[in-house]
């Protein structure tokens, strides 16, 4: 029997495979789909990096800042780089910037349509 988690993972994998290769943000900045990272990335003229999760899916995705310590300039501070994590994820992930592992803890607003899915996944 397929579990809800497996079913959502399969759906997300299908949606990832059909992801539009380019999207444009509100500034008309071109953002390219990264098959490796499963996110959209675009750099504006100031060098700032814009990232976005897959929008064309019914599987909820949340962003989590990395809590690991990392060197920044001459100080060690929290990395806080944004990582996108689908609701189906369980366990640790590797931060896309500092490459250290952390465990995202879903804290989903009860009015979110994702809350019911989350509750069912936790059963």
């Amino acid at each position: 029997m397929t579990t809800l988690r497996e079913s959502l993972k399969k759906r997300l994998a299908t949606d990832y495979s059909k992801a539009p290769k380019k999207i444009w943000n509100q500034n008309d900045l071109e953002m390219i789909w990264s098959d490796k990272e499963k996110i959209y990335i675009g750099k504006d003229e100031s060098g700032a990096e814009w990232i976005a999760a897959l929008q064309h899916t019914t599987v909820p995705i949340f962003s989590f800042p990395c809590p690991n310590l990392a060197r920044k300039g001459n100080a060690e501070v929290e990395c806080k780089s944004i990582n996108f994590v689908p609701i189906t994820h369980k366990g640790t992930i590797k931060c896309r910037k500092c490459n250290k592992l952390f465990t995202p803890k879903f804290n989903i607003e009860k009015t979110s349509q994702a809350y019911e899915i989350f509750k069912n996944l936790e059963k």
Partner: protein, 171 residues
């Protein structure tokens, strides 16, 4: 005729006449002409972060309202989410719906560094993870919160993020 984007406003809080995003710290929805947040406009949500604030880090809370100005149609089951996270690597944005019911003022914060009581902030990254605003009948509104976190030692950049809302409409 269906609800179109022009029927929907994202308005400041801070009182009926408020037009200053920095004073958008809860209370009543601004109904002033200049109290609408315009997409893709610098400082439409807050003033620049000072170098002292960037060095020490700061967390800012602002309240905004979604308003359906259509006089006949309901904006049905809208949700909002963070379509693009902050473009600075040193900041993060989180969102929440206000605890107060629709058409009511939201909690008035003592200042923009005070968090609203009992509100849970999250970072939904797509529509499927979006937070429900609740259907808005003609001319109704609902308060929301944005938490903007600047990490200590943040470098100076033009920082931007995108919050998107989407719902259904009758034809």
């Amino acid at each position: 005729m269906a609800i179109v984007e022009a029927d929907l406003n994202y308005r400041l809080s801070g009182g009926v006449p408020n037009t200053d995003p920095n004073d958008s710290i809860g209370g009543s929805m601004s109904t002033a002409a200049g109290g609408i947040i315009l997409t893709n406009t610098d400082n439409n949500d807050m003033n620049d972060i000072t170098s002292d604030e960037a060095a020490a880090g700061i967390t800012i809370y602002h309240g905004y309202f979604y308003e359906n100005t259509n006089v006949t149609l309901t904006w049905t089951t809208p949700v909002f989410w963070i379509e693009s996270q902050t473009s600075s690597g040193d900041t993060t944005v989180n969102i929440a719906v206000a605890l107060e019911a629709k058409n009511l003022p939201i909690e008035l914060l003592a200042n923009e560094e005070t968090s609203p009581a009992g509100v849970t902030f999250t970072a939904p990254a797509n529509k499927a993870a979006g937070i429900a605003i609740g259907s808005l009948d003609p001319t109704e509104n609902r308060g929301t919160w944005v938490e903007y976190i600047v990490n200590g030692g943040a470098v100076t950049v033009l920082d931007q993020y995108t919050i998107k809302a989407e719902g259904d409409t009758q034809p």
